[in-house]
Structure formats: structure tokens, C-alpha cells
Symmetry: C2
Subunit: 211 residues, 2 copies
Amino acid sequence: MNMAVDLPIRILVVDDHPLLREGVAAVIETQADMLLAGEATDGHEAIEAFRSLRPDVVLMDLQLPGMNGIEAIAAIRREFAAARIVVLTTYRGDVQALRAFKAGASGYLLKSMLRKELLETIRCVHGGKRRIPSEIAAEIAEHATDDALTMRESEVLHHVALGDANKEVANDLGISEETVKAHMKSILSKLGAKDRTHAVTIALRRGIIDS
Amino acid sequence: MNMAVDLPIRILVVDDHPLLREGVAAVIETQADMLLAGEATDGHEAIEAFRSLRPDVVLMDLQLPGMNGIEAIAAIRREFAAARIVVLTTYRGDVQALRAFKAGASGYLLKSMLRKELLETIRCVHGGKRRIPSEIAAEIAEHATDDALTMRESEVLHHVALGDANKEVANDLGISEETVKAHMKSILSKLGAKDRTHAVTIALRRGIIDS
DNA sequence: CCCTGTCTCACCCATTCGGGGGATGACCGA
DNA sequence: TCGGTCATCCCCCGAATGGGTGAGACAGGG
């Protein structure tokens, strides 16, 4: 065990908020065993940066302009299966967290967490382990039993959120109104919503559909 | 004019994200004419901190646990009419911005903005001027023509977002169902929404209602 | 003092929604 | 091959919704 010559952990920060990047950088720079390898502001940049920098750990926001953070995680992991990626986001609901792990994330951090947790998570993930805050784990567990919406159901709900009546959704999707109603029944049941409006509120909160 | 002995601008940062606070602090510390006076994580702390520290400029997030950022701004300005407060938030819609200015904010910054703009805004506001990014100004202007929802209408819409039917809203607010329907008509008209569900989507996007 | 906006309430009526049934074919993993 | 899920479609029917129109009370500003 050559603990004596530990190389610093090289970190890539992906976030579209320069101020937050500066904050993370400032925290990282106080640590002897960490090094800011680079920064990126969107998914495409993140992938390119990973290719050229090969960081040990990536801190990735999920709300990115252009390419989604989840897609970026999946893309990086497809190319570099050993990549360690930590999600670093403001609270955006549980579905996002679940998706991030399915895409290959190793950790999940909320921006409201303390620097101590940030550093612990980076070291933990760099060591090959996964790390999930208990709040997030609880939420994932809570909604893992609930059935997730199918692709079609999400699509229907997205149209409904924009004010389309069942008939209009049916036209847009090229299906029967009766089918849309069937989907709606399923959506209301799965989300435990009282009506379509409530369903949209829940879905927006959980990140199932985007504004 | 004693420009020779400029005192540094003392800054109070109010945000519930420690990492962002560190970022702002790191940026401020690079400036010779600025000084981090203190930090607060919610509205109450912000008010107390202002009383004891009397900073020259406050950077205030609007999404705060407990007391709202807008309320905190109003409270501080009630007590210290000369307080210079800059809103520093992620994009949360235009209504928030308008409310912030009405509450007494002197500047509005998005977290996605660059450090250069942060510093310019701090200096500008400290000098007694207002500073509003053109994007924000345009959005405010755009929706200033639209009628804003009244307090009662927002209240109704909030209940509707949670899945309450008109009858339930009526019971909760102690008014007639017919009145709720009248409010709904007004809401749909003002927001240009196709139905109640659309109205909720628009209102959430614009920050008219929360959650 | 009048006018405007807000909040309140009422009635009519066509359309939409949501809950209850049931059914078919396709696909996929056991 | 069997069972499950998904997506599609159909029926009935009571309740909710949204548009139209009207109107009284009350506060505030010009």
C-alpha cells in the first residue's frame, strides 16, 4: 500500500452557475488531496472535458442548458465505464435522482449540503463506493414502490400540463380520445392525484415532466 | 470628497446553499474594495444579521426556508430605509423579480451570471443606483402589461393546484362555489390559460404560486 | 362625487372530466 | 407457452368545468 505518494483527486465541475463553480473550486482548493481539473457549463462541454482531462471525479448538475445532465452522465459512462460521477443539484424531486443512478451516477448531493459532506462524498466515490444521502435514499425508496409513469403517460401528461383537453391530446398523438382517457386514469391512479391539475402539480414537483 | 480613504464595501450574503455562499465569498475576497461582513441562511437570520452588522450591501436569495426572501427584504427596508439589497437567485420567473423591487430591492442578479456582473452590480448598488439586467427588465416590462393576479385569485389558484375542486376551494375559503368559479374565470383570462391545469402550469413557471 | 377594481353571488348550458366497467393485440421475460 | 405489462379502443353516466350574462357591496383614487 503506497499511501505515501497519494496523487490528488482530480475533479471536473459541471454547472451553468459560475458562482457555484467558484464555490466548489474554493472548497476543493482548501484540500491537499484534491485538485480542480476543469470546469464545464453544459453536457456537451462536460463530455469533451472528460475526454481530454480524464478526471477522477465529476461533479454534475442536472439542470443544464442544452444537453440534460442525465444524458451527459449516460454518455460519459458509455464511453468510460469507470467514470465516477456525483450529482450536485438543487432539490428537483425524486425521479431525477433515480434516473441519475440508473444513468450511472455514484453519488447524489444537494447544493444545500455542507462542504463537509461534499468532501466526504468525493473521497467516498473516488474510492469506488457509492454514496447517497439518507434523505434522498428514503425518497427513492418511497417512490420506488409507486409505479413510475410510462413513456406514453408522461407524454400525455405533458400535453395536459399545457392545457390540452383529452381530445386535443388525442389529435396531437394520433390516438383515440378514449385512449387518452385511459392513460389519464392510469396517471391519476399512479400519482395518487385528485384530478389532472393535481397530477401536473405533482409531476412538476417530482421532475416527471418539465415546465 | 475624501476618495483617498475608501472603506471597503461590507457585504452580507443570504442563501441557504453553503456552496454558493462560499463561491460568492471567494469572489468577494479577491476584491480589494470589498469585504464579506457575514452570512445568513434564512430570512430571520438575515434580519438579525443586518441589525448587528449593518452591511453596506446585502446579497439575498429569494428561495429561503422559513421566511420568504421578499418578506425579508421588506422587513429590512422597513427598519433600515437606506439598506441596499441585491436579489441573487436562480431563474424563478418574472413575478418574483417585480415583487422584489416592490419590496425594496436595488438590484437583481441571476446565479448563472458571471462574477464580473456580480461585482459591477455590488459597486453600482453601493453607489446608490439601481441595477437590473436587461433580460429581467424586459420580462418585467412584458408582464407588467398583463394584469397581475389579486391576492384572492392567487389563493384560489393555490388550492386548485393541489387538486381541489371549486366546491372544496369554496369550503376552504368560506365563500360560495359561484364565487370561486368567478375567480377562476378571471384567472384564466388574466393568464391567458386554456383551462385550470394550464393556469397552474403558467403560475408555477412564473412564480405566482409555489410548489 | 363618480368611476374603477375587487370580491361576492346567481343562473343557464354545452362540454369535459373522471370513475366504473370490459376488450384486443403486441411484446417480453419466465 | 404462459402470465404480465403496455398501448390501444369501446361503453355508460354523474359530476365538474368553463363561457356567457348580470349584479350588489365596498374601498380607493381622480
